[in-house]
Amino acid sequence: MNSVVKRAGLDTAHGVILYLDDVTVSFDGFRALNKLSLEIEVGELRCIIGPNGAGKTTMMDVITGRTRPTSGSAYFGQTMDLARMSEPDIAGAGIGRKFQRPTVFEQHTVFDNLELAIRMDKGVRRTLFARLDSAQRDRIAEVLRLVRLQGQENRLAGLLSHGQKQWLEIGMLLMQEPQLLLLDEPVAGMSDAETARTAELLNELRGKHSIVVVEHDMGFVAEIAQQGKVTVLHEGAVLAQGRMDQVQADERVIEVYLGR
């Protein structure tokens, strides 16, 4: 089950890269996801909002293979059944995930972090004999620039600021050249300046990858969603969907989310 580099089998014929169909996840009775259905189109930047416990993270878990749906199906493209794949396979297939709390390899340099993430055969033997070629070095340099960490490459990741760690993590995702990027609260705990730069970064990425952003910060969402679709989750199901202004107008949303 070597994770393969060429995106074998990713078939986006119908322009849809991710299908969630009637996905239900329940932990001892509690339904974290309740018949959630969702489609992400190729190249789309989708924002997902929702109060705590709406099931955002669980949804991420289902997509990345950490949690198996109790019922329903999750497909990557037309053919890949995410419910049957292991985390590494899914990652290899082209789904990158950024966690809520930034997780990078704190004991490694920024450079090593990116190098580890680089898109290649990640089996044991290949890793043991791996050597960096110039193309890969260029790629790393490029990403460094993209996530605004040039000049930091030899620092230990553990020494980076919170925001920088977030970016580094995004950078690692980019090194994987994923088709689909899942970003869990990318600006949580960031200063306004950092938030702004992150927004820029996402806007640069728009179109190059399909991106799903889960976020609380409405301002940020408004900034990156632009005319794109915004989905509101509530109690594990889609409550509303549409352009930001539509969603914000929807009184059910106001009811549960903006809460008053």
């Binding site: 932990f27 669980t58 949690t67 809520q100 709390r101 997780t103």
Partner: protein, 572 residues
């Protein structure tokens, strides 16, 4: 043993005179002299002869013999030297000596007596005879307990003629049902030898309810064939099998044989049942031991996540504290020695708890969040504690005696003996569990403990003194371990290595139960105990233990979080 006939007369006398000693008759010096001599058979004879007197003097001498308080001088004068008092065995009066006052101490006495006053050695054979004789006398004792004990003591061997007569007498006057039954069974054994089949048949029927191994042996003998047949192997005793080539049956009458077979089956069935129940009890008992050993760890390791390799040594500390208390009582308060545990339990808790808190403050607190480093540090601590005990108390084990009320056991179903100390420990184990549960769920400390364990930072913020809580939690765990040690001291060794014997099992129990799961620990302990004890008869002690370990390894594969795993949404 023809002596029983005298015994009978004596007994008769006793009966006439009602209970209690009759007209005083000194003991024949010849008998005493023989007793002091070293011709074994003569000594046996002497015991019989003395027993034959069946009076207070006889009983006194026999008891003295049994208790190693019978002394003799080279010229065959025999004295009962019991602590400070000296009595002339023959008369039961203080010895008439030129210059020794009555009640002089042994030292004083031996000073005035001919040199070489020396204890009369008893070996098992003699002791057996003495016991039998004493029981014989006790059969007619006014006290029920004594009679019961006597009747029990007489089991295990076939009564001889003289004994039988006495037994009939006793059975005749016996009012107590239980004792009566025992006596009748003893008599039934004698009746098996009776000439007429009817009596034998009755006897066999009576024995069906017996738990006496001797009865079983005799029944088997009846069914066995005389020629080349072994007791314990009973060929098919259907009527007509008599003339088969195998030689004659022990019991000629087929009817009686059938009855005997029925009786034997009844006995065996009961024995099997008893054995099964026994195994269950042993399992619970072993489980309770594991539980006591592991409970402290369930707190320090389970709740706090400290891999405390010195846990075993905390058990040891508890055990040694118990030893200390016992010694103190011995020394200052011998009268209350039986109750030293009452002091030992709190003491062992406090000492171990203090030691634990000291460890926590000095070493462990610096290692929170680095569980595998605590492993190394506590390993070092355990080495030091062991060596410390070696230097203080010596490398040898020390003696911790069961209090009188904890030694011996209660006999159930006739043969199964449930030792009091094990029963006590089972009870104690559950008491401790209950106490811990209460502390954790119904006290402020418990609340804090759970708070800190669930979310240290948050607890800190809401003003829980996490540092102190850590210390007290660890102290609690250590204290529990101390209690465990106190309990273990009642079962096995108290030595420097005591801890090492339990540390691994303790970890297995906690991990199997599920870290942080008190209930899990309890179930795991009992489960392992039972499993071990049910396997042992089949596989032997070693393989049983190996099987258990393999089971644990496999089980952890299935449920990496132990019995009581908490499922939930994955947290990054």
């Amino acid at each position: 043993m023809k002596s029983w006939r005298y015994l009978l007369c004596g007994a008769a006398l006793v009966l006439q005179g009602g209970a209690g000693p009759v007209a005083h008759a000194a003991i024949a010096p010849a008998a005493l002299q023989a007793l002091a001599g070293d011709d074994p058979d003569a000594r046996m004879q002497a015991v019989s002869d003395i027993a034959a007197q069946a009076d207070g003097d006889a009983a006194r001498v026999l008891r003295a013999l049994k208790n190693d308080t019978l002394y003799a001088t080279p010229d065959g004068k025999v004295y009962i030297v019991d602590g400070p008092s000296i009595l002339d065995a023959a008369t039961g009066k203080p010895p008439v000596m030129p210059d020794a006052k009555p009640g002089a101490t042994l030292a004083a006495a031996s000073a005035v007596m001919p040199a070489g006053l020396d204890g009369i050695v008893v070996n098992n054979r003699l002791r057996g005879a003495v016991d039998a004789a004493l029981s014989g006398l006790a059969l007619l004792s006014p006290r029920r307990a004594e009679r019961l004990a006597a009747a029990r003591a007489l089991q295990g061997s076939e009564p001889d003629a003289g004994q039988t007569i006495l037994l009939r007498k006793a059975a005749g006057v016996e009012t107590d049902a239980e004792i009566g039954a025992l006596l009748r069974q003893l008599l039934a054994m004698a009746d098996l030898r009776a000439p007429d089949a009817a009596t034998r048949k009755q006897a066999v029927a009576a024995l069906a309810g017996s738990v006496d191994p001797q009865a079983r042996r005799m029944l088997q003998a009846m069914l066995a064939r005389s020629a080349g047949s072994t007791p314990g192997h009973a060929p098919d005793g259907a009527a007509g099998a008599v003339d088969a080539a195998g030689g004659a049956h022990g019991e000629p009458d087929p009817g009686v044989r059938a009855a005997a077979r029925a009786a034997l089956d009844a006995i065996n069935a009961r024995a099997a049942r008893t054995e099964w129940i026994g195994n269950l009890f042993y399992g619970v008992s072993l489980g309770s031991v594991l539980l006591l050993a592991a409970l402290g760890l369930a707190i320090t390791f389970g709740l706090m996540g400290i891999i405390n390799m010195a846990h075993g040594e905390l058990l040891m500390i508890g055990a040694y504290t118990t030893y200390g208390c016992q010694s103190l009582f011995r020394h200052y308060w011998p009268g209350a020695l039986d109750w030293y545990l009452a002091a030992a339990l709190p003491a062992s808790f406090l000492v171990a708890a203090t030691a634990g808190m000291a460890l926590e403050r000095t070493v462990i607190r610096w290692l929170y969040g680095r569980p595998l480093e605590t492993l190394l540090a506590t390993w070092g601590i355990s080495l030091m504690l062991m060596q410390l005990v070696r230097t203080l108390f010596g490398a040898q084990n020390v003696e911790v005696a069961n209090p009188a009320w904890m030694s011996g056991g209660v006999t159930v179903l006739g043969t199964l003996v449930l030792p009091y100390n094990r029963i006590a420990i089972i009870g104690f184990a559950f008491l401790v569990v209950g106490a811990v549960w209460l502390v954790l769920t119904h006290t402020r400390l418990g609340l804090f403990v759970r708070a800190v364990m669930q979310n240290r930072r948050m607890a800190d913020c809401v003003g829980v003194p996490t540092g102190r809580i850590d210390m007290m939690t660890f102290g609690l765990g250590s204290g529990i371990a101390g209690l465990g040690g106190a309990a273990l001291s009642q079962l096995g060794n108290v030595g420097p290595d005591l801890g090492q014997a339990y540390i691994i099992d303790s970890f297995m129990v906690v991990v199997l139960g599920g870290v942080g799961q008190l209930a899990g620990t309890v179930i795991a302990a009992l489960g392992l105990g039972e499993a071990n004890k049910l396997l042992e008869p089949l596989a032997g002690a070693v393989l049983a233990k190996i099987a258990i370990l393999v089971f644990i390894i496999v089980f952890i594969q299935r449920r990496p979080q132990g019995l009581f795993a908490l499922k939930g949404r994955s947290v990054e």
